[in-house]
């Protein structure tokens, strides 16, 4: 969101400077300067001020953490990785009103700390594997309820030396747990309106995760004073979030959750922790031009949060020490009962932030130096300081290079501790007021009993009770939470630490309003970097890097480069010149779900596009053309020795493709399509499945799984074979590069590997694939039509994971009718055949249902598609094409046992220039 706001600013600034540079005559220069002056400095600050024809940005970034230091414990945990896909756009509705949107999708996986424990408590259990050379340790499994910790009389943990003797060991260690991939989607929509010396904008959006849903709204604006030398900015926002955290099956039985008992729901064998939170925020900012070469920007922010502010996946390790043993006058070690309690943060938080940025133009280099300092404080006791410096250096040929360095330091929250020690028993025997041990019937815990001198069971009145009819056990009393602090957290993000990071951004302005951006940052967190002394939590130190790449389109600059006359006919280019005909046109009327069907006509032309595809499967399992009962799937879907236990209940796939096309000549188009995808599915238990083996963990299907985000990359050359009035034929020779992963695994559960996730949830084919197609299109008057045959041939026997997807063939024919000059409706039929998967995973795969068997992939699919195409012929959005198509399955014949598709949506946008 913030990126979008500032984004518009810099580009409009850039436009202005371009205008200035290109002004040829004195009067033009004066005009340009005056127009620059009119919009300065506000244009650098606010979205509504952006004075151009709109913009679209696509960005991919990867966040990758390094491995955590576990003090010699074999660390087989994959560190955290997050892949982020981001797109945003700004479209002018009128000269003064703008519409904006942004979409962000992050998929993350890896190991994250759930608590911190004394190293001496041995919070990891070795994972052993049999190898030809004997049993070896291949990793470690976390224990949040480790046994056998001893402490000295000053309550320092005692570790064991190699010779078996005990010695004080005060080191702490993070207890890591790994996660299967999870995906978040965030969308945001905004409207802005501007006046000559003011602007206002409003936006709203939502963020969706399996376990965390937020919606938010904001209102902001800008006022210019003092001939625009001074700008005041203001904003207010509200966010409401709902938390439904599914507590980890593995760790939940060992977690103490009594403080949140009322918020925990039991559903389908899973425990779900519910919470709500609200955040209110307000900003006030000032930008002041200091002189011809310098300006200063200062901002103040306040955020009030209340509700469930905990991280539902973090626990505090509490070591309970029996006070009777501790105070028994001896000097021998004391046993510590190590428990993990869900963390408890205060129910509200008030945060204040102030930052100021000084920007100085350096004439000699034509560069700008940016110096930024930020101070924040909150009522949790955290004060932070951030120093940030960057040097923005324009270079010849449209390059811009920005090195950057940052230092950050924060104090610890008042309730942060690596772990706590409490001088009481976690649970102890209950006594009544007479000092007698209390016993209860475990079936009726309210009925209390006692023992007489002969250990016979008696009731409260001393009458004998027949113990054989009851299930008695000692009554226990839980620890007193009042003896613990009100708030506690061992989340290392609330600890005192410092961080140093540095990186660079590289921008390249290409022709025609297209720019590329790449960036890199390396970040290292260290307890010892904290301002004014170490934070004493070096065990939580880590590092990460972030790499990103972006494509930035400035729609106005792109349209400015069009030849006169062509400006309003982005897609009406046709064969006008070639054939001297004025009514002939070749517009983008092909259905949106069709690939390789559109060619550019003019040498030097570019097309930038985006395609989105969504498909959904659910319902009953099918075998061939018929729905089958669960019992059939159990018996036939897997193997005779290993019957099926689970089956998919639904699956969603979303695909985002960038569509970049260039026409070096009239008969050849080159095309590159990076693909991003994310999928989610859930399993259900089959009726009549074989019983669960004791002690074996199985996914119960409460949350489902998701994967993302980089898919395979398509490259193609389109060759025009024939083109006469109304009839065109072209071939496409495509290659699909295996950039999508095929070895994604489910998380390890306890000491059992999750194994490779189902074939259909892997992100690519893993093989180099040949993708040819042949397309015929025709048009006459208001009608258009076409046919296409295409195929996919895997060019390798198997991918790195040991299998290859089936080859595929598709044939389709369509017809379209122009409803108006800009709107076309289409209908088409599609036949697709795909072979089953060959080979199998060469890694562990749980094989719990048909989705884990290669023969249950592929089939024959008949679909009917209905769609519309919008070609904007003129005006503000000239040159844009939008297409939508819905594909409805009419007949399906699947290989093996599969869910059948319930429908698919294709949407495409493209811009030709």
């Amino acid at each position: 969101m913030q990126g979008r706001v500032s984004d518009e600013c810099s580009n409009s600034a850039h436009n202005q400077s371009r205008v200035i540079r290109s002004a040829g005559t004195a009067s033009k220069a004066l005009q340009a300067l005056t127009s620059a002056a009119i919009v300065l400095p506000g244009l650098m600050l606010s979205p509504a001020q952006a004075d151009d024809g709109g913009r679209i940005n696509f960005q991919f970034s990867r966040y990758q953490e390094g491995k955590r230091d576990l003090f010699g414990t074999p660390n087989n945990f994959d560190p955290i990785r997050a892949d982020v896909l981001h797109g945003n756009g700004l479209f002018p509705l009128t000269d003064r009103a703008k519409f904006s949107f942004s979409y962000t999708q992050d998929t993350w996986s890896g190991a994250t700390p759930i608590t911190t424990s004394p190293l001496a408590a041995n919070p990891y259990q070795s994972i052993l594997a049999n190898t030809p050379s004997g049993t070896t340790v291949v990793g470690a499994s976390p224990l949040i309820f480790p046994r056998g910790l001893l402490l000295d009389r000053n309550l320092n943990p005692l570790g064991r030396n190699p010779d078996g003797t005990l010695a004080q060991d005060t080191r702490s260690v993070l207890v890591l747990a790994s996660a299967s991939p999870e995906t978040r989607h965030q969308a945001n929509f905004g409207l802005g309106y501007e006046w000559d010396e003011a602007a206002i904008n409003a936006s709203a959006g939502f963020s969706l995760e399996n376990d965390y849903r937020s919606s938010f709204g904001n209102l902001g604006g800008r006022l210019d004073f003092n001939q625009k030398l001074t700008t005041v900015k203001f904003g207010a926002g509200y966010t409401s979030s709902n938390i439904s955290a599914i507590l980890d099956h593995d760790s939940s039985p060992y977690l103490t959750k009594t403080a949140f008992a009322k918020q925990i729901e039991n559903r389908g064998g899973s425990e779900i922790l519910h919470g709500e939170r609200q955040d209110w925020s307000a900003n006030l900012g000032l930008t002041q031009v200091l002189n011809k070469h310098a300006l200063i920007d200062a901002n103040f922010g306040y955020t009030h949060s209340q509700g469930f502010l905990e991280n539902p996946y973090k626990a505090m390790t509490v070591i309970f020490v029996d006070p009777d043993i501790l105070n028994n006058g001896q000097t021998t070690p004391v046993p510590g009962d190590v428990r993990a309690l869900l963390e408890q943060r205060p129910g509200q938080r008030n945060q204040f932030a102030f930052n100021t940025k000084y920007i100085q133009h350096i004439n000699f280099f034509d560069a700008a130096l940016h110096l930024d300092y930020k101070f924040t404080a909150d009522d949790w006791g955290i004060k932070t300081h951030t120093f940030d410096a960057s040097w923005v250096q324009p270079l010849p040929f449209g390059w811009m290079f920005t090195p950057r360095i940052r230092y950050y330091s924060q104090d610890s929250a008042s309730f942060y501790n690596p772990y706590l020690i409490s001088q009481q028993n976690f649970s102890r025997q209950a006594f009544d007021s007479l000092g007698r041990e209390v016993w209860v019937d475990s079936l009726n815990p309210n009925n209390e009993y006692f023992r007489d001198a002969n250990f016979n069971l008696v009731d409260g009145a001393g009458n004998p009770v027949n113990e054989a009819t009851l299930l008695v056990e000692p009554k226990t009393v839980a620890f007193d939470p009042g003896q613990l602090p009100n708030n506690f957290s061992s989340d290392h993000r609330l600890a005192g630490f410092g961080a140093l990071s540095g990186g660079f951004t590289l921008n390249k302005q290409l022709a025609k309003g297209i720019a590329l951006e790449a960036g890199f940052e390396y970040y290292t967190r260290a307890s010892a970097f904290k301002l004014g002394g170490g934070g004493g939590n070096g065990f939580a130190d880590f590092d990460y890097y972030v790499a990103n790449a972006a494509l930035k389109l400035n729609l106005e600059s792109m349209s400015l480069t069009k030849p006169a006359g062509g400006m309003h006919h982005g897609h009406h280019h046709g064969h006008t010149e070639a054939h001297g005909s004025t009514d002939h046109r070749h517009r983008h009327t092909q259905p949106a779900g069709l690939m390789y069907a559109h060619m550019l006509d003019k040498p030097g032309q570019f097309m930038v596009g985006y395609r989105f595809m969504y498909s959904h499967q659910d319902g009953k399992m099918h075998h061939g053309t018929r729905a089958v009962s669960d019992q059939v799937v159990v018996n036939q879907g897997c193997t005779d020795e290993n019957l099926c236990r689970f089956t998919p209940s639904y699956m969603n796939m979303r695909m985002h493709m960038l569509d970049l096309m260039y026409a070096p000549t009239r008969w050849l188009n080159l095309m590159v399509m990076p693909t991003f995808m994310d999928m989610d599915m859930n399993l259900r238990e089959l009726d009549g499945r074989p019983p669960r083996a004791p002690g074996v963990h199985e996914h119960t299907g409460i949350v489902g799984h998701s994967t993302g985000v980089i898919g395979d990359t398509l490259m193609a050359a389109l060759l025009k074979l024939y083109g006469k009035r109304g009839h065109r034929l072209h071939a496409s020779l495509g290659l699909s590069a295996p950039s999508g992963k095929t070895d994604i695994e489910l998380r390890r559960v306890a000491r059992a590997d999750g194994g490779a996730i189902h074939f259909g949830m892997q992100l690519g084919s893993g093989t180099w694939d040949f993708v040819p197609s042949l397309t015929y299109t025709g048009e006459h008057d208001r009608w258009s039509w076409g046919m296409q045959v295409s195929g996919i041939k895997r060019m390798e026997k198997q991918n790195d994971s040991g299998y290859r997807l089936g080859d595929a063939f598709q044939a389709t024919a369509w017809s379209g009718l122009d409803l108006s000059r800009w709107l076309t409706a289409s209908v088409r039929g599609v036949y697709t055949a795909q072979d089953h998967i060959h080979g199998d995973f060469n890694m562990f795969n749980a094989r719990t249902g048909p989705m884990d068997f290669p023969r249950s992939y592929g089939g024959q699919f008949w679909n009917i598609g209905v769609g519309v195409n919008v070609n904007v012929p003129g005006g503000r959005f000239a040159g844009n094409h939008l297409g939508f198509e819905w594909l409805q399955p009419v007949h399906t014949d699947v290989n093996g046992f599969q869910l059948v598709p319930k429908g698919a949506l294709a949407a495409s946008w493209s811009y030709t220039f």
């Binding site: 706001v5 620059a36 904003g235 930008t287 031009v289 922010g301 700008a368 951006e517 930035k552």
Partner: protein, 75 residues
């Protein structure tokens, strides 16, 4: 104490800049200020990523939290 002095210096410097900077800059003198490298945030897309990462790894508040955005950042 050192930190306090640093603040005082910084604050004094800021005030000085503000005062000295209030000289009027005429419309035709603003060419340098219009350059892309002089934008308050010259690399907004990357800035967006950085903020998200710092938010999920650090406890500092934002001066732009009213711009909205959600998500746990729980990892």
């Amino acid at each position: 104490m050192k930190l306090k002095q640093l603040f005082l210096f910084g604050f004094a410097g800021l005030i000085f800049l503000m005062l000295s900077g209030c000289a009027n800059v005429a419309a035709w003198e603003r060419g340098y200020l219009a350059k892309p490298q002089m934008a308050v945030e010259p690399n907004p897309l990357q800035h967006h990523i950085q903020l998200h990462n710092y938010f999920s790894r650090e406890a500092a508040a934002s001066t732009h939290s009213a711009d909205g955005g959600g998500g746990c950042g729980c990892y």
